[in-house]
């Protein structure tokens, strides 16, 4: 199976610059349904499902490969290769903001810019660093993963598609969510919430926009500020929004922030 099928890659829009959107934990590329189309006029837009999520090929989920986010970062680069993309902008949400960062560190010349929506380099409080979670919190969170699998996997599906008029599509999507292997979800949660990529932040050479919600318990402001301080060529933009998914809950503000950032860069 080639990578485009394996990661359920969708290419739309048109433009010399490719904008690739990487979704966060617990969902799939449908999370970009409100934001990505806004860029389709100027950019070639690419959405995909992380290996192990959504409608990707679950059998391709190799625990050793995806035990670190570098595995997903390689996938992003491979997808760009496969579609023969030119210069690219990577937009990553939550855990995928770090996936995008790793990809941009690996091949800096490939990327014109990176947009990090609600990123966190480390979720765990560590001395003066305030990641937002204690060790006990993370343990409890991972435990919740165990007990709320159905909630995680299926609650989002029908509505995310916004498809009351296309029940078959919603059902298909629900089924694909339900097919998500709970063991993969747990493994991915562990990899996500126990990751610590603070040490790689200074190596970033690609202009970065850190898009932060004003009230986000998953990636608190302290995290955004820390990342902005540590990453060269980064900007921090705070959107007045409660939550962790501004691309869904505040798509216009998110679009404006990203668009003006890219225009400032001349992209």
């Amino acid at each position: 199976m080639n990578i485009l099928q394996r990661n359920n890659v969708t290419v739309s829009g048109s433009g010399p610059v490719t904008m690739i959107f990487a979704h966060g934990f617990g969902c799939d590329q449908n999370m970009w349904r409100l934001l990505a189309p806004c860029f389709a006029e100027r950019f070639t837009t690419v959405t995909f499902d992380l290996t192990g999520s959504g409608r990707s090929d679950l059998s391709a989920y190799d625990r050793a490969r995806y035990d670190r986010l570098e595995g997903h970062a390689s996938d992003v680069l491979a997808i760009l290769d496969a579609i023969d993309a030119g210069p690219a902008v990577i937009v990553g949400h939550s855990v995928s903001a770090m996936v995008g960062l790793l990809a941009a560190i690996e091949q800096p010349r490939r990327f014109l810019a990176q947009v990090m929506v609600g990123p966190s380099a480390c979720y765990l409080n560590d001395g003066e660093y305030l990641g937002g979670f204690s060790k006990a919190d993370i343990d409890e969170l991972l435990d919740t993963m165990d007990m709320n699998y159905l909630g995680w996997s299926s609650a989002m599906a029908p509505t995310i598609m916004g498809a009351p008029d296309r029940p078959a599509l919603a059902e298909e999507l629900t089924n694909s969510f339900c097919r998500t292997d709970p063991e993969i979800a747990k493994h991915f949660a562990r990899v996500t919430f126990t990751s610590d990529y603070r040490s790689v932040l200074p190596r970033s050479q690609v202009p970065a926009l850190i898009l932060q919600c004003s009230d986000d318990i998953i990636a608190p402001l302290t995290v955004g500020q820390y990342m902005h301080r540590t990453m060269p060529m980064s900007e921090l933009k705070i959107i007045d929004n409660v939550g962790h998914c501004p691309h869904l809950s505040a798509p216009s503000a998110s679009f404006d922030a990203i668009d003006s950032f890219l225009k400032r860069l001349g992209v």
């Binding site: 999370m31 919190d137 007990m147 159905l150 995310i160 318990i217 998953i218």
Partner: protein, 407 residues
């Protein structure tokens, strides 16, 4: 804080109820929810919703519920965990609806039901799914392994067929090549015989050569015939032929062998009938069976050849008092080269072609041959069944006419 009079029923409801503003600040909580979480109703207004959730609950609320509410205005039947004042987690099912208060400000109405069994239910559901998937996987693996085995078997069969084909080709070439030197040898022997040399030594050597060349020629001919049958190239020259005639000719040809071994060959004639067959090949087939009977019977023993008609079949039986056959050998004696593995039998001058040729010729005539024996030392019996020719009544032989009138 107190509920409006017209909503008092809600505040006594058997479910937890909560109203928050757009930023998640608790505006009201009913008595039931306050009691579940260990707070007085008046205390609840100091909290943000996030503070009443566990960490996992907060994460789920932010990554899933909040976007859902944003997009569709309500969510239902979602599992969350609330946090009791003492730190204990309270699993609940939540239904949330987005609305507006009297001033038009956005508010979220939450209803919670305790759902302690949900985890068990989920675990059971997941367990069942995993078991079903494991069973499916096992089945898939078994099918795949079966498919692989079939594939291997098919390959092995094809290889065997190829080997068989090459063997047949080799034997055909070998037989052909062996026949070439035999012809001048036979001519040379005939020339020497005509010289009328009276030297007893020469006479004896010539006799030996004569017999051995004859034996070799027969083996080579048999080998060629077997090869022709295998390739479907043995052409029958069919004509109406009486069974009695076939038997008579075969007996004539085999008699010297029996005489030499001081064996007695008995012929028992039953009802005669006509076959549509190649007399030369059918005779060859019977001679082979008779030779076989003589070869495996001790000196002074006996053999019988009997023919009769049974309905639409001519049945020819050749029986002997020879060494007999082990029961497990009965089914394989007609297999080509089946004797090659037995040194004793090879010593008898056979390479396992004779009976294979018999079977080939009989089957070419649409018949069947079978072997019977009561075991080693009890003699053998070979039964050949051949279809009777569909001869029109006017063409019946005298023998057949007499059989019919007798019937």
């Amino acid at each position: 804080m107190g509920p409006p009079a017209d909503q008092s029923w809600q505040w006594e409801a058997p479910c937890g109820m909560l109203i928050t503003d757009a930023r998640g600040k608790v505006l009201r909580a009913n008595a039931t929810l306050s009691r579940w979480l260990g707070y007085a109703e008046s205390e609840m207004a100091q909290f943000q919703l996030a503070q009443l959730l566990t960490v996992g609950g907060r994460l789920f609320h932010q990554t899933h519920l909040a976007p859902l509410l944003q997009m569709q205005g309500s969510v239902a039947e979602v599992q969350l965990q609330l946090r009791h004042r003492d730190g204990q987690a309270l699993p609940v099912l939540a239904a949330i609806e987005r609305g507006a208060d009297a001033e038009g400000n956005r508010v979220d109405h939450h209803a919670f039901m305790v759902a302690a069994d949900r985890r068990k239910y989920e675990q059971e559901l997941l367990g069942a799914r995993q078991r079903a998937e494991a069973a499916l996987e096992e089945r898939r693996a078994a099918l795949e392994s079966l498919r692989q085995k079939e594939l291997e078997l098919r390959k092995a069969n094809e290889q065997l067929k190829l080997i068989d084909l090459r063997k047949d080709e080799f034997l055909a070439v070998l037989a052909h090549e062996l026949r070439n030197p035999l012809t001048p040898m036979r001519s040379g022997l005939d020339l020497l015989a005509m010289r009328n040399n009276q030297d007893p030594v020469v006479q004896r050597v010539l006799g030996v050569f004569d017999r051995q060349v004859a034996l070799m020629s027969r083996l080579v001919e048999d080998l060629m015939d077997v090869s022709r049958i295998g390739k479907g190239k043995l052409q029958l020259k069919r004509e109406p032929v009486l069974v009695s005639m076939l038997v008579r000719h075969a007996v004539e040809l085999a008699t010297p062998l029996f005489s030499k071994a001081s064996q007695t060959l008995h012929v028992a004639a039953g009802a005669d009938c006509t076959l549509d067959g190649d007399p030369v090949r059918l005779t060859q087939m019977l001679v082979n069976l008779l030779n076989n009977a003589s070869k495996y019977t001790h000196a002074g023993g006996s053999a019988w050849i009997r023919f009769e008609r049974q309905e639409n079949e001519a049945v020819i039986t050749i029986r002997d008092t020879g060494i007999g056959l082990e029961p497990e050998r009965l089914s394989e004696v007609f297999t080509l080269f089946s004797q090659v593995d037995s040194a004793t039998e090879r010593a008898q001058g056979g390479i396992g072609i004779g009976l294979g040729l018999v079977k080939g010729i009989v089957e070419l005539h649409g018949g069947a041959v079978s072997a019977h024996s009561a075991g080693l030392g009890h003699g053998s019996e070979f039964v050949v069944r051949l279809p009777v020719a569909a001869t029109p009544p006017g063409a019946l032989t005298p023998a057949e006419r007499s059989t019919q009138s007798a019937g």
